[in-house]
């Protein structure tokens, strides 16, 4: 992998808007150690976004992009919702699907990519809101898992339909009153992580996005497992600060409060046996790579 694929024609370089020039000069593509620490330096990791100021989705989005192990060969599939406002700023191939259809689109895409590029890893990552994943798209979500489609599904769980003004979603908490759901939710938050496990996902995590290094780890794990073994699912709490009446600075605290051991976003993980084996193997290789790099650095210094 490298930046070879994003070269601007030299004769037209100077007329390109600066963000594209910077993308080519400073993208992290091809850098094996890319991760959340590159945020702020690399153009493809979103500088500007059009979400509400302080929306945790904007940070979650950056962490995900920074953690993709293979960004040049990754296609993300989005759905309607607040996330779809960010995709135009993202320098990773992406498809906007009809609301709820994201896992069906991703299934076809992944299969087509496997046929077209049999010798290359092509990762497909779905990123959609809870309304798209759990309500309108639940059929597509589950069927993809039943069929063992090899891609990662990420749900930005903000516990309501944010983009349309705050309607009730399956992932909303029982009793919650939103702007467009004044009666209050009458049934429990759908337990999609458990359903994912029972539906055949090999790696499932339920957490908040308060810790970038943790998000990086779970994204990488989920993508590697999906690539080699089968479907994976991440449910990430990205509170809609607008709808729950918090201001821009309060998103992080909201996530910290919700991830306490007794709360609904306490870290929960399920890893199937084959996935465990794979992740152990990857961890061992990573350790070797780090040791070799350290050795090389030491020999250069000597």
């Amino acid at each position: 992998m490298s930046k070879e694929r994003i070269k601007i024609a030299p004769e037209l370089f100077e007329i390109m808007p600066p963000e594209y020039q910077d993308l080519v000069d400073r993208a992290t593509y091809g850098n094996e150690t890319r991760g959340w620490k590159d945020i702020g330096n690399a153009k493809e990791l979103i500088e500007e976004h059009s979400l509400c100021a302080g929306c945790p989705e904007s940070m979650a989005f950056r962490y995900i992009l920074a953690s993709l192990p293979n960004p040049e060969d990754t296609v993300m599939v989005g759905s309607t919702g607040c996330t779809s406002l960010v995709f135009p700023h993202v320098a990773v191939h992406n498809i906007h699907s009809l609301f709820g259809n994201q896992n069906a689109i991703a299934s076809g895409l992944k299969r087509a990519l496997s046929v077209r590029f049999p010798d290359r890893h092509k990762d497909v990552v779905v990123l959609a809101g809870d309304g798209a994943t759990v309500d309108i798209g639940l059929d597509m979500t589950l069927q993809a898992w039943f069929r063992q489609e090899k891609f990662t599904t990420i749900c930005f769980d903000n516990e309501l339909y944010a983009n349309t003004g705050g309607q009730e979603s399956g992932l909303m908490q029982k009793g919650f009153v939103a702007k467009m759901a004044p009666v209050g939710k009458t049934f429990e938050k759908v337990r999609l992580p458990e359903i994912a496990r029972e539906s055949g996902c090999h790696y499932v995590v339920n957490c908040t996005v308060s810790k970038p290094n943790l998000v990086e780890k779970v994204i990488k794990n989920a993508i590697h497992v999906a690539r080699e073994i089968g479907p994976t699912y991440l449910q990430l709490y990205t509170p809609c600060i607008l709808e729950i009446g918090k201001n821009s600075m309060e998103g992080l605290q909201e996530m910290r409060d919700s991830e306490k051991p007794t709360e609904r976003f306490a870290y929960k993980e399920y890893v199937s046996e084959p996935a465990k084996e794979l992740l152990t193997e990857i961890a061992a290789k990573e350790k070797e790579r780090k040791a070799a790099a350290k050795k090389q650095l030491a020999s250069q210094g000597a």
């Binding site: 070269k7 601007i8 024609a9 030299p10 004769e11 037209l12 007329i15 406002l85 135009p88």
Partner: protein, 203 residues
């Protein structure tokens, strides 16, 4: 067919029809079209050069297929486009301002586009209005995005649109040639050079 929908500079109206739906067909190899009428390719090239020499702000809009060096062919086309632009600058009067503005992306730009330095197919009129562009060439833009854009331009501006298409031509442009290669772009530059001084420049 005797009656043909004439694809003319607008503003036509909010939603102009697609020329194909009005019965206009695409040129065959070796041909082009002017306002929807099929003509020999060389005639279309000559007319394109004339339109550019007569415009106040003749502008080339290169799209992603030529802005990015996907392969050797794309890089050659980019070189030819640069040559066309330099030729144009040499051949126009001081009252004319040729421009070269990229269409690097098809995705809508949020929160806003900078119309001074780029064009976007979802709202191309903004760039045309801002720079007062009265004639433009699309080159290296994928078919669907070009057609969408050409219709919006026809709907809301009076800009003369020319499409140098790598495939079968664009019926939604006012003038189009097909099977565009780097050589064909260089030939258009030759036409501009040849016609220099023969077209009344704008006041």
């Amino acid at each position: 067919m005797t009656t043909r929908y004439k694809v003319m500079p607008g503003p036509e109206h909010f939603l102009p029809p697609s020329a194909a739906s009005m019965g206009n067909s695409l040129p065959d190899p070796g041909q082009g079209h002017i306002h929807g009428s099929i003509v020999p390719e060389e005639q279309a090239m000559e007319e394109a050069a004339k339109q550019f020499l007569a415009a106040k702000v003749p502008t080339i809009f290169p799209g992603p297929l030529v802005l990015w060096a996907w392969n050797e062919k794309a890089a050659k086309k980019a070189k030819a486009i640069r040559h066309l632009f330099e030729t144009l600058k040499d051949c126009v009067a001081s009252t004319q301002t040729p421009m070269l503005i990229p269409m690097p992306d098809y995705r809508p730009k949020y929160p806003k586009i900078n119309p001074e330095i780029e064009i976007n197919p979802n709202h191309p009129n903004l760039t045309i209005w801002h720079n007062k562009i009265d004639a433009c060439i699309f080159v290296g833009v994928h078919c669907h995005q070009a057609n969408l854009s050409l219709k919006i331009i026809r709907g809301g501006t009076d800009c003369y649109t020319i499409a140098m298409c790598a495939q079968a031509g664009h019926e939604d442009a006012m003038l189009s040639v097909r099977d565009t290669t780097a050589d064909k772009i260089l030939r258009l530059a030759d036409w501009v050079k040849k016609l220099k001084g023969t077209v009344e420049p704008p006041k």
